[in-house]
Subunit: 121 residues, 2 copies
């Protein structure tokens, strides 16, 4: 049984919008990502998605409701089927909790799509 | 869609070993607990359990392997069927990810057992 230290885990990679796999349980995954700039609008048809900010600020935009702005230590759950776009003016570090098979760009495929996630070592 | 600020959420209750429900997604729950002292030895037959420490220090003891000591910003996943006992020498604040129906004391029932969790408001 191996613990994961978030600070060390985030220090192990630099790439933006490319989630790393930090752990799996009950068919769900804990993913860590560094993000900066605007991501693509997308939705997940069959998966709710939790965003927890561990450093910086993340704005999540929605098509039909107000943005949610998350600071360090704040999380939100985006329900399945809700189109959203994460945006970070400056680099932010985020923890995601979602089904293991959930694709970062959901229903769209772009150059930012990641399917085989690298694992945190 | 409502964000949860961990600092405010933890400030909303004082009871130890009594997890609060902070969110649910995909049949899983985000639970927050303040803990201090020794919990009961137990295991969860059908559920892996994630412990993330957000403040303080938590030691998780196991019957057949070394303890895991978690500091702030560290997590571990305890696989289903593994007997464990969380211990905090001083008050610690922890975030749990596990299936919504998972009972805090797992296979045992004690005065610390909680089944109907209060929600974070």
């Amino acid at each position: 049984m191996k613990k994961v230290a978030l600070t060390e885990a985030f220090a192990s990679f630099d790439e933006h919008w490319s989630p790393r796999l930090a752990g799996e349980l009950n068919g769900q995954a804990v993913k860590l990502a560094k993000v900066e700039g605007e991501f693509v609008w997308h939705q997940h048809e069959d998966a709710d998605e939790l965003f927890l900010v561990t450093s910086g600020e993340l704005r999540i935009e929605f098509q039909h409701e107000s943005d949610v702005v998350l600071q360090e230590g704040e999380f939100v759950i985006v329900p399945q089927g809700i189109e959203h776009r994460p945006v970070a003016e400056n680099e932010a570090k985020i923890l995601l909790f979602e089904p293991s098979e959930t694709r970062n760009t959901g229903n769209v495929e772009t150059e930012q799509t990641r399917t085989e996630l690298k694992e945190i070592e």
